[in-house]
């Protein structure tokens, strides 16, 4: 189990390979990578993520422990960036390793659903129309509630 909360950029593929190398003998690995989204309708030039690092590490560690026990994961990692990011850059990566595919998928989806609502990061988008704080979504609360 590993948590990394960092202002440094990370390489999604290199992280996946390190994660897989540590899990010899396991059958199924899932990697989720979340990137700064930008569409022609709503172009984003930068995304600033504010973070409360001490709380983030506590929250992410608790999520990993819960997911590991619940889905019988052999390994799980969360990497979460903060600071100023450009469109297309990776923000977050969640990786899970399990003997069976269903557990690896469910563990990764569980972690992402909890990260959206329970990890102390706050997003501020900047584009041609100015800067705004991203509001929390009701959809994200509903996604998390699926696991209750």
């Amino acid at each position: 189990m590993s948590v990394r909360v960092t202002t440094d950029a990370f390489d999604p593929g290199a992280e996946t390979n390190s994660f897989l190398a540590a899990g010899k003998g396991a059958g199924a690995a899932v990697t989720f990578t979340g990137m700064v989204r930008s569409s022609p309708d709503a172009p984003i030039t930068t995304l600033s993520l504010e973070c409360y690092p001490e709380l983030a590490i506590n929250q992410l560690s608790a999520m990993l422990a819960t997911a590991t026990a619940r889905f019988d994961l052999l390994a799980a990692t969360i990497i979460h960036r903060y600071g100023v990011l450009r469109a297309g850059e990776p923000i977050v990566q969640v990786m899970t390793l399990s003997a069976h595919r269903r557990a690896a998928f469910q563990g990764a989806e569980f972690l992402m659903d909890y990260l959206k609502t329970d990890a102390p990061f706050w997003k501020q988008e900047s584009g041609p129309d100015g800067t705004r704080w991203v509001a929390a979504k009701g959809d994200d609360d509903a996604a998390k509630a699926r696991w209750d």
Partner: protein, 83 residues
């Protein structure tokens, strides 16, 4: 006791942290928010919708009903948008 503010709450208050010494009657985080709101009109306005304010005590996410006795850092912030 140190208080931390994040995101738009930090921006509206124009400060990321402050030191406070709440009186004896301030038992929970909810009491602390009420006490801070009485002292400061900008604060009162920023926390008007209490359902939009989340709280942590010594880097643990907790509800507003949590007692603050013995804690050294309280954090107040909007709903989180991680991931």
């Amino acid at each position: 006791m140190k208080i931390l503010y994040f995101a738009w709450l930090r921006e509206r208050l124009n400060r990321g942290e402050e030191e406070v010494s709440p009186p004896d009657g301030v038992v929970t985080i909810a009491d602390l928010i009420d006490w801070l709101a009485q002292r400061d009109e900008a604060f009162a306005h920023a926390v008007e919708k209490r359902s939009l304010i989340r709280s942590a005590l010594d880097a643990r996410l907790v509800p507003h009903t949590t007692p603050i006795a013995g804690a050294s850092v309280v954090a107040l912030f909007p709903p989180m948008t991680g991931g």
